[in-house]
């Protein structure tokens, strides 16, 4: 375990490096107000910290830079909760105050604001809607072979899907089916829908035995959940960081962010609550010099989506964590109140 003084110095180094982006030397630290030791003492401690793996030296005559292990210790033990400024709080509150039900929009704005506030890249995973309850289902035939299935949830979210119609199914059959569904399944959470179809509807449907299979197929397709939506904002912010003035590094990162499935990978961490992945801890080479902080937001206690920030390893962890926590809490409250209506 690190001594108090070692922790103090490590904290000072990380802190300094986060703001200066330059390797920090012993003299710089010794001049800080919260440090009462000469540069020589600091040098000794730095040497020890390097041996222990918390610091690294780009080259002999340079200052020290935190290693991944150093950042990890900083994040786990040294970070103090940051106060958000009035302006920041204002922006966030404004977001929650907006009376937009359309959750897609809320999520989009969230990503926007998150990126603005932190000056890093924001990644937001839209809320899964399995918890939402069915308000209305509609199947609109377009011609003999195709139809559009539309599902409206009680929160006003609309999913639509183009489906192929099996042969021999006419508009009247579809109408009967839809009426049945609306009568029986309103207010059922989406995740229960398929199951309830089998429980409650299949009996009635089986009367026209020959079309039973086809009907089930239609429903099966109609109720398949939409692919997940990821929102990315401020991807170019990384270019403001001095350590990313290199096109090749930036290219790798931005190419990664262009791919939806990779984005999902990045932000789709299991479990709820705040997670920090620092530098080398990331699997993907392109972002081994980046850190990702994510947290989940929830609806009625269950996590339904994620918000995350991607920035350089040299990230303002304290601030980002505060913003994310505050935001996720607000989003959850907002969603939940909307859900309970």
């Amino acid at each position: 375990m690190l001594s108090d003084r070692q922790q103090l110095i490590l904290n000072a180094i990380v802190d300094n490096y986060i703001h200066s982006a330059e390797p920090v030397g012993s003299r710089t630290i010794s001049k800080r107000e919260d440090i009462g030791f000469s540069s020589a003492t600091i040098r000794n401690e730095m040497s020890d910290l390097e041996e222990l793996g918390y610091l690294e030296q780009p080259h002999t005559s340079a200052g020290r830079v935190p290693s991944t292990k150093g950042y990890r210790f900083y994040v786990d033990n040294l970070i103090q909760p940051q106060h958000l400024s009035e302006a920041e709080l204002g922006k966030l509150k404004q977001l929650f105050a907006e009376r937009i039900l359309h959750s897609e929009k809320v999520v989009e704005y969230t990503a926007q604001i998150l990126s603005q506030l932190t000056n890093y890249t924001a990644i937001v995973l839209g809320p899964e809607i399995f918890e939402h309850r069915l308000k209305h289902i509609q199947i609109v035939p377009l011609n003999e072979t195709q139809a559009v299935a539309i599902v409206v949830t009680h929160t006003g979210r609309v999913e639509n899907k183009l489906i192929d119609l099996p042969e021999g199914i006419g508009p009247s059959e579809i109408e009967r089916l839809v009426n049945l569904l609306n009568a029986k399944l309103t207010d059922v959470p989406l995740w229960q829908l398929k199951q309830r179809v089998y429980q409650e509807i299949s009996g009635e449907m089986r009367r026209n035995a020959e079309q039973y299979e086809e009907m089930l197929m239609i429903l099966d397709k109609s109720l398949k959940p939409e692919e997940e939506r990821v929102y990315l904002r401020g991807a170019t912010k990384i270019m403001n960081q001095p350590e990313f003035r290199d096109v090749d590094k930036v290219k790798d990162i931005l190419e990664l962010l262009e791919q939806q499935d990779q984005l999902l990978h990045l932000i789709g961490m299991p479990g709820e609550g705040l997670k920090v992945r620092i530098g080398q801890e990331n699997q993907l080479d392109a972002i081994k010099q980046c850190s990702i902080i994510t947290t989940s937001y929830s609806l009625g206690g269950k996590p339904v989506g994620m918000v995350g920030i991607l920035g350089p390893t040299r990230m303002e962890y304290g601030k980002v964590i505060s913003v994310l926590n505050y935001l996720a809490e607000g989003l959850s409250r907002m969603l939940t109140s909307q859900f309970e209506k």
Copy 2:
């Protein structure tokens, strides 16, 4: 006007520069098979071409580079139609063959393929749906004050919008309204909808005089067209270009591309048919070293959307133009056949 030989040489220079990205010297040109003159002769012509404004010299002892005027002449007079390779044709045909009606998806794939084929950034503006005909309209009340309005077109496209309900309007009134709309307005093109509402529906609606205004308000909101969707793919491709190895240049461009409204600006050129905007001809500073080629695709003869390519001024104009033309034609055919069904 340029002499034949001047045109030959200008063509050779542009051609060479497009592929090498280096200022081209007189010797390089004189060695080309299609040129039968010594480097000295070429030098004289080059000097003249520079004086005329078609070429530029980065510095005294460097070769020449085409100016915006030079590219313009090249594009307007010298370009020969390029043949697409089997592989390229294959990819494009595959796109058209896919039986996806959901036009959003088609447009998304289009952008993807365009960027893949050209190695530049693709911007695609989704088809306006004003020409699409109403298949079904539905208003689903969520609670006392809010409802979702859903419009389905005959091509299977679904637009939805959250609307506030005026006081005193109950589910039964809404149902009456919706039934009326579906009975009277099916198969009416969306752009005529509002007008037809006033012509054909207002009479019947006026019976319940007190709610007339409110009803109109609801319809007004429901029928407001969705904001336009722009798809961007391969934004990072610009980083592969040697002249964009500079983070600051790239940053300006990518920041521009991050803004939806700016994208619309870039691609939303008036009129139909192929347009090329070269380097300095662009308004925005960030892309004064880029060229944009766009063309429109149409539905039943009317232009409804745009496809475009953004690349360095030093772009493979011939190839990009061929790909865009071929693609726009195919898209138009696809949409139109779908429209006529």
